[in-house]
C-alpha cells in the first residue's frame, strides 16, 4: 500500500493516522507539493486527473479521495474503524465522510491561503469553515447527551479521523476554535487514542506522558 504523501496535508495525515491507529504499515512516497508543485506534473495527473493529493495505490486500485482511502484502508486492515454494521452507524459514518469535503473546501483552503500563499476567497472560506465547526460542535453536544463520545457512536471511527485534522488546524487559516468546548474535548479524546501520531500544528498530549522523575512522597 503506497500513499503519495505531503507532510503538511491534513488529507494525507488522515490516512497516516488511521494506518498508525490500526497498526498497519503503509509506504509513504513524499510529493513536492510546495514549493515544487509536483502533484500537477504529468506523472501525477496520469494517476489523478484532478491534480490533488493524497493518492493511494494498492494492488492496482488507485484512490484519490481521502474518505475513500479511509474506507478502503479500514476495510482491509481495521474493520472496527468502519463502525458497526447497522443502518444507523453506517449512515452516520458516511454522513461525516461526505461532510469532511466541506472542511477541506473551507478550512483547508483558508489554511493553504494563509500559510503557503495559495489563492482563495479567504473571507468566504473562513465563513464556511466557521459554519462547519458550529455544525460539528452541535453534533458532538447531541452525541454527548446520548452518552456517546465520538461523531458516529460510542467509539472512534473513520468519521472522527475524517473530520478531526481540519477541526484542529482551523487556527492555521485564521479561524478560531476557542468557542467550541465540545470540539476541544473531542480532539483531546482523539489525541489520547493508543498509537496516535501528530502532524505539524496538531501536537500530542504531553500531559498524558508519565512524569520523567520519581514521584515525591509528599508535596
Amino acid at each position: 500500500m503506497i500513499l503519495y504523501d505531503y507532510v503538511l496535508s491534513p488529507d494525507c495525515y488522515k490516512v497516516r493516522l488511521l494506518a498508525a491507529l490500526a497498526g498497519v504499515k503503509i509506504t509513504l512516497r513524499p510529493v513536492d507539493f510546495h514549493p515544487g508543485g509536483e502533484h500537477k506534473t504529468a506523472p501525477f495527473l496520469a494517476m489523478n486527473p484532478s491534480g490533488t493529493i493524497p493518492i493511494f495505490e494498492d494492488d492496482g486500485v488507485i484512490l484519490t479521495e481521502s474518505s475513500a482511502i479511509l474506507t478502503y484502508l479500514a476495510a482491509k486492515a481495521g474493520p472496527a474503524w468502519l463502525g458497526d454494521d447497522t443502518p444507523e452507524m453506517r449512515g452516520r459514518v458516511a454522513q461525516w465522510l461526505a461532510f469532511s469535503q466541506r472542511l477541506s473546501a473551507s478550512i483547508g483552503k483558508a489554511r493553504v491561503h494563509d500559510m503557503l500563499n495559495k489563492p482563495a476567497d479567504i473571507e468566504a472560506c473562513r465563513k464556511a469553515g466557521t459554519q462547519c465547526l458550529r455544525e460539528i460542535e452541535a453534533a458532538l453536544v447531541d452525541q454527548r447527551l446520548a452518552g456517546h463520545d465520538f461523531l458516529a457512536g460510542d467509539r472512534p471511527t473513520i468519521a472522527d479521523l475524517a473530520c478531526f485534522p481540519h477541526s484542529m488546524l482551523a487556527p492555521d487559516g485564521g479561524i478560531s476554535v476557542d468557542p467550541y468546548p465540545a470540539i476541544r474535548l473531542w480532539t483531546r479524546r482523539v489525541r489520547a487514542l493508543p498509537g496516535f501520531i501528530e502532524m505539524p500544528g496538531i501536537h500530542r498530549l504531553h500531559d498524558l506522558k508519565p512524569e520523567p522523575g520519581p514521584i515525591p512522597e509528599r508535596v
Binding site: 507532510v7 513536492d32 510546495h34 503557503l116 492555521d172 505539524p200 500544528g201 501536537h203 500530542r204
Partner: protein, 281 residues
C-alpha cells in the same frame, strides 16, 4: 517620525528559480513591492512608487532593500563549498513579528516539547551552558558550544545523537544555524531562516539549507524542514505580546535564553525596532 535603521538592511523576497517576468506582488515593511526577473533571469525589484530597488541574487533567494545598504549582503562561505546540496524549502507565511520568528529559531529549550522525538525528547530537556557574544568586528550575534540531545537531528541521522550547534544572526531578520553533520563529521550543516517582514506582525519565512547529504531525496529534505518549521508556526502565532519586547519586565529569562537576550540587546543597540515593542513586557 524617527528614522528606521532597518530600512537599510537586506531582506529575502523570493526564490530565484521561481521568479517570473510578470512578477509577484508582495510587501516589505508595509511597502508594496513587485519581485520579477529580467530577460537574463536576474531579479528585478520595484517599489510601489516605481523606483528600482537594489537587488542581490544569493543563497537561492532574491534580496532587496528599501533604503541604501551600507553593508554588503552577509557572507555564508559554506554556500560555495563543493559537495553541499542547496535546498530551497519554500515560503511559509506566519502571523507573527519577523523578530519573533528569528528569536524562536535561536531557542533550543522548546525542542522536546514542540519538535518531540525529532529535535528533542523528554526527559532530556536540559540546555547545557553555552557561550554567547556580540562579535564587534563583524557586528553579529553568535552562540557557540551549544549541545543538545536529539532523537532524530536530521533526515540523515539514524537514532539519537548529541548535536552540536552554533547560531549566528548577521542581519535583523536572518538567522543561520550550524549543526553537527551526521554523514560528515568535522563539517557543519547550514540551516538558515530568512525572514521577509511584510508588516510588524506578519512575515514570510524562507528557510534555506546547505547540507552534506548525498542519500536523502530532495523532497524528503524539504518535507523534514517544513515539518519542523510548521510545528513552530502554530506556537509563533500564539505568542503574546505580538511584538517582540526588547526590555525585560514580567519575563524572567533563564540561562537557556542567553542567545535571545543578546539578540534583543543587539536589536536595541542598532535601533532595529520594526516588529519590536519598546514598552517593557
Amino acid at each position: 517620525m524617527t528614522a528606521n535603521p532597518m530600512i537599510d538592511e537586506w531582506y529575502p523576497v523570493g526564490i530565484l528559480t521561481e521568479l517570473s517576468p510578470e512578477g509577484r506582488d508582495t510587501m516589505l515593511m508595509g511597502e508594496p513591492i513587485t519581485v520579477a526577473c529580467d530577460a537574463a533571469g536576474d531579479p528585478v525589484v520595484t517599489a510601489g512608487d516605481g523606483r528600482s530597488l537594489p537587488v542581490r541574487a544569493r543563497y537561492g533567494h532574491a534580496w532587496t532593500s528599501l533604503g541604501t545598504p551600507a553593508k554588503e549582503l552577509f557572507d555564508i562561505p559554506e554556500a560555495d563549498q563543493p559537495g553541499r546540496r542547496l535546498v530551497d524549502v519554500g515560503v511559509v507565511r506566519v502571523k507573527c513579528s519577523p523578530l519573533r520568528a528569528v528569536e524562536n529559531f535561536l531557542d533550543i529549550a522548546h525542542f522536546p516539547f514542540v519538535h518531540t522525538d525529532i529535535l528533542g525528547a523528554e526527559p532530556n530537556t536540559e540546555v547545557q551552558r553555552y557561550e554567547v557574544q556580540i562579535r564587534e568586528e563583524v557586528d553579529e550575534v553568535w552562540a557557540t558550544k551549544v549541545k543538545f540531545y536529539q532523537p532524530q537531528a536530521a533526515k540523515s541521522a539514524e537514532g539519537g545523537i548529541t548535536t552540536d550547534y552554533m547560531y549566528r544572526v548577521p542581519a535583523p531578520t536572518v538567522s543561520i544555524l550550524y549543526k553537527t553533520c551526521p554523514p560528515r563529521p568535522g563539517e557543519w550543516d547550514v540551516i538558515t531562516l530568512f525572514v521577509q517582514p511584510l508588516a510588524e506582525d506578519l512575515c514570510e519565512v524562507w528557510p534555506w539549507m546547505a547540507l552534506f547529504d548525498d542519500q536523502t531525496p530532495m523532497t524528503d529534505l524539504i518535507h523534514f524542514q517544513q515539518m519542523i518549521f510548521l510545528q513552530d508556526r502554530s506556537i509563533l502565532e500564539n505568542q503574546l505580546p505580538r511584538l517582540l519586547p526588547l526590555d525585560p519586565g514580567m519575563e524572567i529569562p533563564t540561562r537557556a535564553d542567553l542567545t535571545s537576550v543578546a539578540y534583543r540587546r543587539w536589536l536595541k543597540r542598532h535601533g532595529f525596532t520594526y516588529g519590536a515593542q519598546l514598552v517593557a513586557a
